[in-house]
């Protein structure tokens, strides 16, 4: 019984941890969905994925600071324009770089490692090493109540610091909406059908009139655009910095390995698992413990189910 009461007393902290975990899961799910889409359709492991996340944040900062005025207007503009710009850039990179190595698995890894450094150093030269912050378009704090038994009577109180930010709620909701829309489009739209057919058998898809080259450029654009979108959404919370892509890449790789590369549903579930454990372990223990556990999880998955928890073997 003592443990239960201890847990109950920790309730407010657990709630905050779960909420921060949901935020992390939302951002990870967007990132990893993009990585997984690109791998699923094109069989390309995009090592530069984190840099498109960083470019999204940097582009959003640039757009927002150019427009100025109210954060609501400038941020919404950045939220729409930055992912489109980054997606278009990625589609161009597909045509000029990745297509040129014939989508060969090993050569695309080398090519995207090169891209990683070019984008990172290019951003350092153009944008500088100073982190840049952007104001959230809105940010209210919603206080959360808790209950305690005092002399046998439950009493409500407002624990100090137990509140959630409306902007973070918005990020979570936005991620859910975007991922649901993506999932719906994959199974219910003509573009989704074309992508799935290309994923299953690109040669036969061509024999039925599907312009596979254009599909690849589009998929790479959408996949990297999702990373950029995650970067824009996180910008008011985290600041833009030219090195921010590294950790994001690592986390999204952890998510897709656990979820199963190319498995959309598995990726989302893995993002929730990793987001929640990371946040809870960080708050109750330390960020180091959180990273160690995530790495252990990856190792366990690789040993016992190399295709990921929800991945299926491909022929």
């Amino acid at each position: 019984m003592g443990y239960v009461w201890q847990l109950w007393a920790d309730g407010p902290t657990i709630l905050i941890a779960l909420f921060e975990g949901a935020l992390l899961a939302a951002v990870l799910a967007l990132m990893a969905a993009g990585l997984s889409l690109v791998f699923g359709v094109m069989r390309v492991v995009n090592v530069a994925h984190g840099e498109f996340y960083m470019l999204g944040a940097v582009a959003a900062w640039f757009i927002a600071s150019q427009i100025g005025g109210s954060p609501a207007v400038s941020f919404v503009a950045a939220l729409i324009v930055a992912p489109l710009l980054v997606g278009a850039l990625a589609a161009m990179i597909d045509i000029t770089v990745i297509k040129k190595v014939n989508y060969d698995p090993e050569r695309t890894i080398v090519a995207t490692i090169g891209l990683l450094y070019i984008i990172q150093q290019g951003t350092l030269m153009g944008f500088g090493a100073v982190p840049r912050a952007v104001e959230p378009p809105f940010d209210h704090r919603i206080a959360i109540p808790w209950w305690e038994k005092v002399d046998g009577v439950w009493e409500m109180y407002w624990p100090w610091g137990l509140s959630i930010s409306t902007y973070k709620v918005f990020v979570i909701v936005a991620a859910i909406v975007i991922i649901s829309a993506l999932r719906y489009a994959m199974t219910h739209s003509k573009a989704g059908l074309i992508m799935r057919a290309t994923q299953l058998d690109s040669e036969t898809a061509q024999a039925f009139g599907i312009p596979v080259g254009r599909v690849y450029a589009g998929v790479f654009g959408v996949g990297c655009g999702l990373a950029a979108l995650a970067g824009v959404l996180i910008l008011p919370i985290q600041q833009a910095h030219y090195l921010m892509g590294g950790e994001a890449l690592l986390s999204s790789f952890i998510v897709v390995i656990i979820g199963g590369l190319g498995s959309f549903g598995g990726t989302i579930i893995a993002a929730i698992i990793i987001g929640m454990t990371d946040s809870i372990l960080t708050i109750f223990f330390s960020p180091i413990i959180a990273k160690i556990v995530a790495t252990l999880l990856v190792a366990l998955v690789l040993v016992f189910k190399p295709t990921g928890l929800f991945g299926t073997k491909r022929q």
Partner: protein, 231 residues
């Protein structure tokens, strides 16, 4: 209608087709025969633009279709039934047909016509295609090819591994398509099927056409088949 003129095709440095020519005409079945590895599938892929043609040309209804992007070739009205069916296994029957239809202006009419030929598929539209029986999968590959509203059909061993009743059903479908005025190139291993449907026959050996003959002379002298194919 289709004219393949002296094409060379290679997989990387390895030449596979050399100076290969053939023609297909409206309302006529051309059987392409040869041993395993002779280059039949390669010929079909080359016509579909899936392999680069390094010499010679392919023209269809007056348009050059060699070395145009592969996804353009079917829009000219060429339907492909690849060897091994190559269905999109995780997609439903309806989705497989929709892939064939996505280049067409009036998809509903084309799809209805394709399904009328294989009514068995109508009740299975929402079933994943990999869960169909072998015979139904073959019907679906033919129906999917019909969804590009083709004037020419390339069938690469469509009856491979099918039970006799299905072989007959597919043969009947092919004969119906000939009556509909389609040009047909058929790769077929079964001699009885060849003798039953061929208007013309081209024998391929090591990537070259070594003999062309018409179906009637083959029927009059079936031993020619045995001599050529060594069966």
């Amino acid at each position: 209608m289709l004219e393949v003129r002296s094409i060379n095709v290679a997989y990387g440095p390895v030449p596979v087709l050399r100076d290969l020519s053939l023609t297909a005409n409206q309302g006529e079945i051309l059987c392409l025969l040869g041993r395993n590895g002779a280059g039949k599938t390669t010929t079909m892929k080359a016509i579909m633009g899936l392999l680069p043609v390094t010499a010679g040309t392919v023209t269809f209804q007056g348009n050059t279709i060699s070395n145009v992007p592969a996804h353009i070739v079917p829009t000219h009205g060429i339907g492909y039934i690849p060897q091994g069916r190559k269905l999109f296994g995780e997609l439903t029957v309806a989705e497989n047909l929709a892939v064939g239809l996505q280049t067409r202006k009036s998809p509903q009419r084309v799809m209805d016509a394709a399904l009328d030929m294989f009514p068995a598929l109508k009740t299975r539209l929402n079933q994943r295609s990999e869960t169909l029986s072998g015979g139904e999968q073959t019907m679906l590959t033919v129906a999917r090819a019909l969804c590009v509203d083709p004037h020419l059909l390339l069938l690469d061993e469509p009856t491979e591994g099918l039970q006799p009743s299905m072989i007959k059903a597919i043969r009947d479908a092919i004969l119906q398509l000939r009556r509909d005025g389609k040009a047909i190139i058929l790769v077929e291993q079964r001699m009885d099927s060849v003798l039953a449907v061929a208007d013309r026959v081209a024998f391929i050996e090591q990537g070259q056409i070594v003999e062309t003959t018409d179906g009637d002379s083959l029927r009059a002298n079936p031993s020619l088949l045995r001599a050529r194919l060594g069966v």
